[in-house]
Symmetry: C2
């Protein structure tokens, strides 16, 4: 496995692959790999001749009060983990190379970026869409793999690719969970032992929502109330949002009929966690 | 020469060319070709194996009060003219195909889009940047050719390509003029015989600015005043802006030292015309 830091070397490498008729898959990440990332790499590995994993903690998707500085980093460990999954190239550019002086071009996926995480993290999805478009242009993959934990991000990338006619297939991988149900996240690393217990309330609340719908309950208000009550019964939790609505347009619904997205963002101490599930009403 | 209307056929065509190792040049236009467009096509013809001319009157770059509906169109004439320049493919998609229902992704080149034409045409350059990015993704050219008459547009495209790492060389063609100096434009077609005379004041005013700088005058205020006086001495003219400043960052300057852009937008009756020149102080 090669590690590449420069944009021009990355592009040269994939252009050479393409000239040989090899297909390329990209897995964009912010590093500090967990089993969720490794599952994305395995999916990429099974779908393309060459796999590039980008590792870039993108400053433009963090707000001024957010955890950019303390976001966990361990390049050496990440390198070994990626190697273990048969990744061909780890692309790890510096912020200075990704955002040259005078940088001023931004991509907005307007409607889909408004609610959910977009409401509490203004500018976040603008940063995500922009850096993903840059990575697509640098690596020029045939396919790119994203996790469903960041469901809103996934829908925004889908929409951007469609709206801007980007020649890339987007693949989604289901959420990977710890044995007790907690969705894998690099931010779980922030949690104390006590917080780790409270964090379990997110996935439990989603299972509760699923059970209510399976039991025939259709009222969005009732489901959201039960989810809220469950989470708030745990120490140190604070709800950012509980969303129930259409998974495509991300518009809230009053009743669950057909497919619906139940998505959460919850503060556990100083750590903001997200999780989601698709309901079938 | 082929005419292609569908996005997927366009992409298939250039993918096939690329597989054969052929280079591709794109000339994005809104049609109603004049000698300026034909010069861009010849430049493209001389630099690549295959030339695609896109013809799309892009609704998203027109304001609600602007001339989208009356913008001149003549596909039959344009087809003959493009054929005459050895163009391989005329790509002429419908607005409905370029902007699918639910379209919501926009590209902003923030700083460069603020002043000059951006100030009087809010949203114009957002529409331009977005449609050009779409055309780049659909056609996937190695090079793209733009005219220097739309100088601000050219700088915005340059910046977008750099910021988003688009794998495309941007080439600029000097302004092509009528024998009497009027910059070629599809909008000249709107002018009455009387207006056509007044329209000449733009290029005359630019020549006046060039002469002042050649004569050693450095004061931006003096140059702008002389340019303004000359234009307003013609019937039916109204100045939108006179800009004198840095050609890269498009920031105004008080004195001309080194390279400076002198750019104009002037209403002649109901028609808004633009023109510019590079000064060397």
């Amino acid at each position: 496995m090669k590690t590449i830091n420069s944009i021009s070397n990355m592009t040269k490498t994939t252009v050479r692959w393409r000239q040989k008729g090899l297909s390329v898959a990209l897995v964009p990440t912010m590093g500090y790999f967990h089993e969720g990332h490794l599952a994305l790499m395995r999916m990429a590995r099974s779908r393309a001749d060459r796999v590039v994993v980008s590792l870039f903690v993108n400053p433009s998707q963090f707000g001024p009060e957010e955890d950019l500085d303390r976001y966990p980093r361990d390049l050496e460990r990440d390198t070994e983990l990626a190697k273990g999954q048969g990744v061909d190239c780890l692309f790890s550019p510096s912020a200075g190379e990704m955002y040259l002086p005078g940088f001023q071009t931004w991509i907005d996926v307007e409607g889909l970026s408004q609610g959910l995480c977009g409401a509490s993290r203004p500018g976040h999805f603008r940063g995500v869409a922009t850096v993903v478009a840059k990575l697509f242009n640098i690596v020029r993959p045939d396919i790119a793999v994203f996790g469903q934990k960041d469901f809103q991000q996934l829908q925004i990338i889908h929409r951007m690719v469609k709206d801007l006619n980007m020649p890339i297939d987007i693949m989604a991988h289901p959420i990977v969970r710890e044995p007790d149900g907690l969705a894998m996240s690099s931010r779980n690393y922030y949690l104390s032992i006590e917080e780790r217990k409270s964090a379990l309330s997110l996935s439990q609340a989603l299972r509760l929502g699923e059970k209510m719908v399976a039991d025939g309950i259709r009222s969005g208000q009732d489901i959201i109330q039960a989810v809220r009550d469950h989470i708030l019964s745990h120490t140190g939790t604070k709800i950012d949002y509980i969303f129930l609505g259409d998974p495509e347009e991300l518009e809230e619904c009053q009743e669950v009929h057909g497919k619906a997205l139940l998505a959460l963002a919850v503060w556990v101490g100083r750590t903001r966690l997200i999780d989601n599930t698709l309901l079938e009403g």
